[in-house]
Symmetry: C2
Subunit: 526 residues, 2 copies
């Protein structure tokens, strides 16, 4: 270290001290350098994995004939009103700064239905990958955020019964397996069967929705607790509760549970339930044609919270997304720290959806248009949760991916009193490569020493170096060589400057044959 | 029409009438089926073009070594405070619903600087394609929206002078030409030269920023009007105003204007201006190396509104993005309708940026960290404006692109009393094709007639049909044929069911050889 450097370093350290003291004293007045609660910055390798997930899902959606749309991140407040039941309190509102009252979207389904109604669309298969907003208690480690991405695919239009529903379940399976997730099952149920069951068990029409949301808790609470809620809080008789208990404990393969239910004559004689059972029978045939029936479990305790579902409902869960057996104990132990405790609960469903046949019509009629019938069915993939699973499962991933696309690093070597560093010359080569769509970088210094240039090239992940030697370049030549430890002793090839693009392309083709480049393939092969 | 159909149709018409009447009566109570002011839904072919622009720009950014990050759509309100000068009034705030006060981001630059400061990053080349929000007066047709996309590339870190700046200008040129935009120029200027000029002309330090923003209006107003503002509103002497006028009228090639300025000894003796001139001299060498100097015009009237710029500034404009000569007249004529009038003004700059060397440090010091030096330079592409240009220029584009990726349509033909429509069979074939990543559709009907199936395949844009003939399929065979008018009389090839994937791939390869598939290539070749 030179004297000047030492002095500079000392100065830096000194200036650090008062700043630190200051930061304690004025902490309340100072700006907080953070992102809002429940949000995060995405960067580096995490960003690459997430983009890989988006890429894989959008290819999936396109493969099934989907077109994409993009709606505004905020909607008129009244568009969202009355669509989410109890969860409406989680909606973010924009401040009234004059003009219209708006809120951030809570999901992509309601804006989609608004779009379909507004444009009088009769049928569409649309996908939409975008952020949604919920003022929920965040639990970052299990992937529950206030700002998060949803990847939705929905089919709107009048078609033969259960045909789009079956395709959505096939697509859901294809989507998850395509991301290397294999140990999942799809719980399915039917709102009409569920409503039929409640009726048959003696629940009054006006109580159906609230009993339904009590039953929905069965994935987190044992029957005893749910039963207590049904009797004590929701005012049902013991007999009704026990009858409900008999039904909602049922689950198994679609074939088995269908057989069981068809034997219950009180259920089959209920109009709603009978329609639902017929739907499930048709669905079975199609799921068998798609060979996805083995992923499906008919689970009568699945109820789904949202108001707008009218038919088939489903949720994909993995072994990791279910809460572990000792979740309660861990929660108790950790209860001083909300966020950490929730890390021990599963990530919840990783994809979910259902049929909602009246939502588009709600918009049409609420705005004075005539009544329309635009039945819809769709699925939403929870990217943050899928990301958490992939990330937790495979640390190998992190080693093999890099956030840079850089393929080529351009360097110049020389010396002596007349050595200027060949910066404009490196720029010229970079321009040639960029113009041929080759990802290229060089060090942003007029004169850079060889070690610094090699370090930078290593950091960038470049596979090929273009080297401008002082004398060689004056003779119209440069060197193209492979990078990486196995090429440390390889001097590369000395070529005419004019041939740089072809030679680089050739070396890159060699390098990429061996290498890992397709993040989608990587995710899939986990 | 059957009697039942007639009756149904009559009912529909009847129910339409009261609904329509109702809509007039209750218009104030009713829900409005619209998106918030200044926002829009993107769909169909527009969406394809926009995705093509994103694809082209993200490839560009990656080519230059960029990594991408994603920051939350809202930031703590205090992070945005004091960064945008007068424009701060255009920031959207979130409602105070308890907890932190947040605002929607106004640009991607301030969140980027916050990210760099928060993570103590020493250097990064990052790109970010995302929406930003401004409560401005919208002018949809010229691409000015309240919610719009920015595509930003920024280089942060200490490097040799003007090296990153030159690369940003090379990247800007490459980005626009890569999108088929050729008739543009990049106006450049330097904040230090501008500030030096104002000093030399007799402007006091505290008046510099307001004189700068008056000068910035020269792209929309003639000198007379700006001069009047400088003298009457901004309180400068006639002599000062005239001296400023001499300078800011200068524009031309970088070489020419540099020569002119270097002869003005009062300017070169000003410390700030002299630093700026030295920068421009170095820049010239690098722009020549990149062969982009011919796109650049040194324009001393360019000032840029934002507070945070400290060095080189630039704005790309096209012939179409400048206001037409009769803009004022058209504005007068149309003044009853704000939105339409603004359609006659140019779209403004299509990309812009500059150097901002103190922004990261502002965050560091404001939060009690020690002072850092993280100089930054960047550019932002205005996608909506670029989109408007491309869309207005080329109607041919609309004919050649389709929003669907569908390649194959699966159909079944048959008849007779035992004909069931082969729906599960079509599903099986679809599944095979999807599993091989081939985009495939079929009609969602158990029994569909040939005409309906051909119509649907035509709408989807599929290039190949897989046809399940009733008897042929029973013999283990199906037909694969090309679609399109020139193949109307082609019966296709009858093959074993097991060979469907290979045969489809073969026919698709034939079809795609001729066809237009790469939207980027299409945009570029306009």
């Amino acid at each position: 270290m030179s004297a000047a450097e030492q002095s500079a370093s000392k100065l830096k350290n000194e200036s650090a001290i008062p700043a630190k003291t200051g930061s304690k004293k004025e902490s309340k007045l100072q700006l907080q350098l953070k992102v809002p609660k429940g949000t995060k910055d995405w960067a580096d390798k995490d960003m690459v994995i997430r983009e890989g997930i988006f890429h894989s899902l959008s290819k999936l959606f396109k493969r099934h004939g989907g077109v994409t749309i993009d709606t505004p991140v905020f909607e008129l407040r009244e568009i969202l009103a009355g669509k989410y039941g109890e969860d409406s309190k989680l909606i973010y509102d924009l401040k009234d700064q004059g003009g219209e009252l708006c809120s951030l979207r809570y999901d992509l389904t309601v804006p989609f239905a608004r779009f379909v109604a507004m444009n009088n669309i009769q049928n569409i298969k649309r996908y939409h990958i975008a952020k949604v907003y919920r003022r929920d208690q965040p639990a970052m480690t299990k992937g529950r955020m206030r700002e998060f991405y949803q990847c939705d695919f929905d089919i709107a239009g009048s078609y033969d019964k259960m045909v789009p529903d079956a395709e959505i379940l096939a697509l859901l399976t294809e989507g998850l397996t395509g991301l290397g997730i294999k140990d999942f099952k799809i719980k399915i149920n039917h709102r009409k069967i569920l409503d039929g069951i409640f009726k048959v068990c003696g629940v009054k029409d006006e109580d159906v929705r609230k009993i339904s949301s009590a039953v929905d808790k069965l994935d987190k609470s044992p029957w005893d607790i749910v039963r207590k809620e049904i009797v004590e809080e929701k005012g049902q008789s013991d007999e009704t509760a026990d009858k409900i208990g008999e039904f909602v404990k049922l689950n198994g393969s679609l074939t088995e549970v269908l057989e069981t239910l068809k034997l219950k004559s009180e259920l089959t004689s209920n109009e709603l339930a009978s329609q639902g059972l017929e739907d499930m029978e048709i669905l079975l045939t199609y799921l068998q044609a798609f060979e996805v029936d083995n992923y499906v479990s008919f689970d009568l305790s699945l109820a789904r919270g949202l108001d707008y579902y009218t038919g088939l409902i489903y949720e994909a869960v993995t072994a990791q997304s279910a809460p572990p057996k000792d979740a309660e104990a861990l929660k108790q132990k950790k209860k001083s720290d909300d966020e950490d405790a929730s890390a021990y609960v599963g990530v919840g469903s990783i994809a979910a959806g259902g049929r909602y046949d009246n939502l588009v019509n709600m918009f049409a009629t609420a705005t004075g248009k005539k009544s329309v019938s635009i039945p819809c069915v769709g699925v939403s993939f929870g990217v943050e949760r899928i990301f958490s699973l992939i990330k937790a499962r495979e640390s190998k991933l992190s080693k093999e991916i890099k956030p840079f696309a850089t393929q080529v690093f351009i360097m110049a070597f020389g010396g002596g009193p007349d050595w200027k560093g060949y910066l404009p010359e490196r720029m010229k080569i970079a321009k040639k490569l960029w113009d041929n769509e080759i990802e290229s970088e060089y060090v942003y210094k007029a004169k850079a020493n060889p070690r610094k240039q090699f370090e930078a090239s290593e950091k960038s992940g470049a596979k090929v170096a273009v080297i401008l030697g002082k004398e060689e370049y004056q003779e119209g030549k440069l060197r193209v060589k492979r990078l990486g430890p196995e090429f440390a002793n390889d001097d590369g090839e000395l070529i005419e400057i004019d041939h740089v693009v072809e030679k680089v392309q050739e070396k890159l083709a060699e390098a990429n044959e061996a290498g890992f480049d397709d993040i989608t393939r990587l995710l899939r092969n986990l």
